[in-house]
């Protein structure tokens, strides 16, 4: 397993990039810990796959260096980087048995057969194909094949890193739960360095110790799931993490007071804001309470989604979403209140701190 250093990496697909906008990946400069589980999360076109391909060696970055445990691997091929990869669609040998598919990466490296057998049996149980060891892969369903791909990614214990590119996209929801928790358990057990690309927030948050949120070719935040949820650094993170995402409301800030429309909201700190910045207040739907006290709100729609309700409303002429418990009720003249601790203030889309 290896620590991964990304040093001033930038990448442009076209030759001779002139401006910042020509870069599909803007400057990335980070150290990723040995044994860490990182998820790269963002919408399509955000640069997450470009970054993964730079780590795997499929792409040579236009600028910068990449180091595994201090060793410069920028110009090494994928094979020479000693990594395992799992792709979105199954990559397996149809004519081989399930067992031989899993054994392949080990035999390729002349691992002794007894060790091969031990590892393959362990992995085959983990992916739930215990009874299928001797079956040819060609007769299997798409998700069984993808499980073999996953198993092949996990079967070697001596790789520098395991890279996953949207590995669960083709898997049915129920199986996703099983596989996800197994990958996580394996990570705890063996401490692989893992990098996992996904556009699915649940997968990213549940898989990773650190989630790398990307937007428009940049890393906008690297944080624990809790940090991304409670303190999004950028309004994009607030929007992208959470269903529904954070409510971001235009607000005027004076000292430790925010004003939205004609409503004033006391803050528990004094945001430091540069003159002329566009200021907004961010509050997650989970931290807006609905009742008889507080600020008036007009309900437009209530969506009962089983374990809770999503209330869509208008507040100070802005749309706002509120999460209400499964058994929660809405009074006749509803009012809302914000949990003061959960309020974030943004200036030109970036979160601002300040004195308490």
């Amino acid at each position: 397993m290896a620590r991964i250093d990304l040093e001033h990496i930038r990448h442009a697909y076209g030759a001779k990039p002139k401006s910042e906008n020509d870069y599909a990946l803007k400057e990335v400069h980070h150290k990723w810990n040995d044994g860490g589980a990182y998820a790269l999360l963002g919408p399509s076109g955000c640069g997450k796959t470009t970054l993964l391909n730079i780590i795997s060696g499929l792409i040579n970055p236009s600028e910068g260096r990449i180091l595994f445990d201090g060793k410069d691997v920028t110009h090494l091929s994928t094979q020479d980087r000693n990594i395992a990869q799992v792709f979105q669609f199954p990559v397996i040998y149809d004519t081989m048995t399930v067992y031989d598919n899993l054994a392949f990466p080990l035999r390729n490296r002349h691992v002794p057969e007894t060790e091969v057998d031990r590892r393959v049996k362990e992995i085959i149980e983990m992916i739930g194909l215990g009874g299928w060891a001797g079956k040819k892969a060609q007769g299997l369903t798409a998700d069984q094949k993808q499980k073999i791909s996953l198993g092949r990614g996990l079967v070697r214990s001596d790789v520098s890193a395991i890279l996953f590119d949207e590995p669960l996209t083709v898997i049915d929801p129920e199986m996703k739960w099983v596989l996800r928790s197994q990958i996580k358990r394996l990570h705890k057990q063996f401490g692989f360095t893992m990098v996992y690309v996904t556009h699915d927030q649940t997968e990213a948050l549940t898989f990773a110790d650190k989630v790398v949120v990307m937007y428009d070719g940049q890393i906008v935040q690297i944080g624990t799931p809790a940090e991304l949820f409670e303190r999004p650094r950028h309004t994009f993170v607030g929007y992208f993490i959470g269903s529904p995402g954070m409510n971001v409301l235009p607000a005027r800030i004076d000292g430790s007071t925010a004003t939205i429309g004609s409503e004033t909201i006391a803050l528990n700190f004094r945001p430091e804001i540069k003159a002329g910045a566009k200021t907004e207040l961010g509050i997650r739907p989970e931290f807006v309470s609905i009742g008889r006290e507080g600020m008036p709100v007009a309900i437009t729609k209530v969506e009962d989604i089983g374990r809770h309700k999503i209330v869509r409303a208008r507040f100070a002429d802005q749309p706002i979403s509120i999460i209400l418990d499964e058994d929660g009720a809405i009074p006749a003249e509803p009012r809302i209140a914000f949990d003061q601790k959960a309020i974030n203030i943004y200036a030109d889309s970036w979160r601002v701190g300040g004195e308490a």
Binding site: S181, K188, H199, T202, T206
Partner: protein, 356 residues
């Protein structure tokens, strides 16, 4: 109104759809929910007239249309893969069904612009589909389905290839589009959460059979059998085989859960007890609730909440707990089942003993 009467589909001696009765009203949104290969696409193809049923009949507004080819029906379909005419502009793509129908230029222009506005495509009308993002391409296909003004609109996992944030937005838009048109909408998905967010009606499918059809939230809350309950659960449904004996449920002769009031009429004997992950909690749900001792397998943090996988007497459960709980594997925990929301299924898998 679309009526399917004992419709079945057999391919090469293999039954893909068992004889099915289903009535869909005009102006309704109907979700087909089930895992891969459960028969969603087969059922849609039968509704569209793309395939001939092996038996049964299809009645549309009182007219038997069984065997009538798709070209002669008023049907629009949108698939998981974005299908557009690559050489035409977005405008021409959306306009194409109206041109085929021979509508006049002014009507075409009005309808195309209206659909483009609804689907936020106005800025892209002069572009070709391949220069657009996946979300925009799929919105183009949806806009084309809308202007076609068909009586039956079939959407086969239309959002599956999109980022979840885009899906979230389109999912909110789609029911509004549907409601306005008065057509019958059928929407296939593998994801329970998508069905809940869409609302309307849901038919759950398992192995070529509709297991239940009704208002989405009712099917979710009151599944008629265990198969339906499992199909409609994400995270997976928690279950355990217990013996009901008087006022308690036992396992190995030991008290596990009390029988809640809504199940007082339940007969004694073996049964499957089931509950949703958010009905397992660290907090006592009501006075007098007795805790269960469970062992953790893994905990996953999803921002505002945690999924804690636990084991109890051989059963594997998921607990959805608000807040952040990073619990090490093999820890012993005390948790509560909110028995007020228990579902019980008999040895034949049918729901018994009333519902919460």
């Amino acid at each position: 109104m679309l009526e399917m009467k004992k419709i079945s589909k057999v391919v090469g001696g293999e039954t893909h759809i068992l004889p099915t009765d289903l009535v869909l009203e005009r102006g309704s949104l109907n979700v087909l929910l089930g895992p891969t290969l459960s028969g969603k696409t087969s059922l849609m193809r039968l509704m569209a007239g793309l395939d001939k049923p092996a038996s049964g009949s299809l009645i549309f507004d009182g007219t038997d249309v069984t065997g009538l080819p798709v070209q002669k029906r008023s049907v629009a379909m949108v698939y998981q893969q974005f299908i557009n005419y690559p050489s035409m502009t977005v405008y021409d793509n959306i306009a194409s069904p109206m041109r085929i129908k021979g509508s006049d230029a002014a009507t075409i222009d009005r309808e195309v612009r209206k659909a483009a506005e609804l689907l936020k495509l106005t800025p892209y009308l002069d572009r070709t589909p391949l220069s657009l993002s996946g979300g925009q391409q799929q919105r183009t296909a949806l806009a084309r389905a809308i202007v076609k003004n068909a009586d039956l609109v079939l959407l086969d996992e239309p959002l599956a290839n999109l980022d979840y944030k885009l899906r979230e937005e389109l999912r909110e838009e789609l029911p509004k589009l549907f409601a306005a048109s008065g057509a019958i909408f059928v929407y296939a998905t593998t994801e329970p959460s998508e069905a809940l967010l869409l609302g309307g009606n849901t038919a759950t499918l398992s192995q070529g059979r509709i297991t239940q059809f009704g208002k989405t939230i009712d099917v979710f809350r009151r599944p008629v059998d265990l198969v339906t309950a499992r199909t409609f659960a994400d995270p997976p449904l928690n279950t355990i085989e217990l013996i009901k004996s008087g006022s308690i449920f036992t396992f190995d002769g030991k008290h596990v859960l009390s029988v809640p009031a809504h199940l007082s009429a339940l007969p004694d004997g073996p049964c499957t007890v089931a509950f949703q992950p958010h009905h397992l909690s660290f907090d006592r749900p009501f006075d007098g609730a007795t805790p269960l001792t469970v062992k953790t397998a893994i905990s996953e943090i999803a921002g505002s909440e945690s999924f804690i996988h636990v084991g109890f007497s051989g059963a594997r459960w998921v607990m959805l707990a608000p807040g952040i709980h990073d619990i090490e594997p093999d820890a012993t925990l005390e948790v509560f089942v909110d028995i007020r929301h228990l579902m019980v299924f008999g040895p034949d898998g049918r729901a018994i003993g009333g519902t919460a």
